[in-house]
């Protein structure tokens, strides 16, 4: 059974609209991450969280907010979506400690298109 799930799997939004991407994990990991994947840019970290109630800015946080209401759930929010945010978004859990235990477990991804 999948330990990291994302919804929706595909989303088409209009410019200026609000988009919420959801992620749920059953790994009981403290840490969760949101990445976007674009050709030529690899995986880029948007926001991450150390646990319920915490959110931290990653490398490219502009235009995104995050929410961690519980251990299991981590949402990525685009308040005013723009076409430049068209991408594939991955959620991951894990990496509760650095070093060898930094392995992260990824969800299936959400393909977002902003028109």
């Amino acid at each position: 059974e999948a330990a990291v799930t994302q919804s929706p799997r595909n989303k088409v939004a209009v410019t200026g609209g609000k988009v919420t991407l959801s992620c749920n994990q059953t790994n009981n990991h403290n840490n969760m991450y949101w990445y976007r994947q674009d050709t030529g840019h690899g995986l880029r970290l948007i926001h991450y969280s150390y646990g319920a109630g915490s959110t931290e800015k990653g490398d490219i946080p502009d235009g995104y907010k995050a929410s961690r209401p519980s251990q299991e759930n981590f949402s990525l929010i685009l308040e005013l979506a723009t076409p430049s945010q068209t991408s594939v978004y991955f959620c991951a859990s894990g990496g509760d400690w650095g070093g060898a235990n930094a392995e992260q477990f990824f969800g299936p991804g959400t393909r977002l298109t902003v028109l």
Binding site: V4, N30, N31, Y33, G40, H41, G42, L43, L45, Y48, Y50, F90, G94, G95, D96, W97, G98, G99, A100, N101, A102, E103, Q104, F105, F106, G107, P108, G109
Partner: protein, 115 residues
């Protein structure tokens, strides 16, 4: 800061030939942990192998890599490419300990294996 370099964006091979995907890194921490993730189309990125031991070969699913701290390298190799190896491969670094768990990813190398 810490960084990971994957020189090749695309590697195209004929089935049966050896595979070598390059990964070099920079970190101020002497205790670096390196990871290779594989991302097959329409699946989630997942861990392929990891290592923190200098000059020790790590193997998994026919792939192997050796961490060389003297040259800051962790190249991914396979003796004979298969069509099913076609995927996007990420090298990643965790150079710190403590409750952070962040991974630093390279830009990724797409491996295309042709008949």
């Amino acid at each position: 800061g810490d960084s990971v370099t994957q020189k090749e964006g695309l590697v195209t091979l004929t089935e049966g030939l050896p595979v070598m995907l390059n990964c070099t890194y920079q970190t101020i921490y002497s205790n670096a942990f390196l990871f290779w993730y594989v991302h097959y189309l329409n699946e989630s990125p997942r861990l392929l192998l990891k290592s923190s031991t200098d000059n020790k070969r790590t193997e998994h699913q026919g792939f192997h890599a050796t961490l060389h701290k003297s040259s800051s390298s962790f190249h991914l190799q396979k003796s004979s490419a298969q069509l099913s190896d076609s995927a996007l491969y990420y090298c990643a670094l965790s150079g710190i300990t403590g409750n952070t768990g962040k991974l630093i990813f390279g830009l990724g190398t797409t491996l295309q294996v042709q008949p």
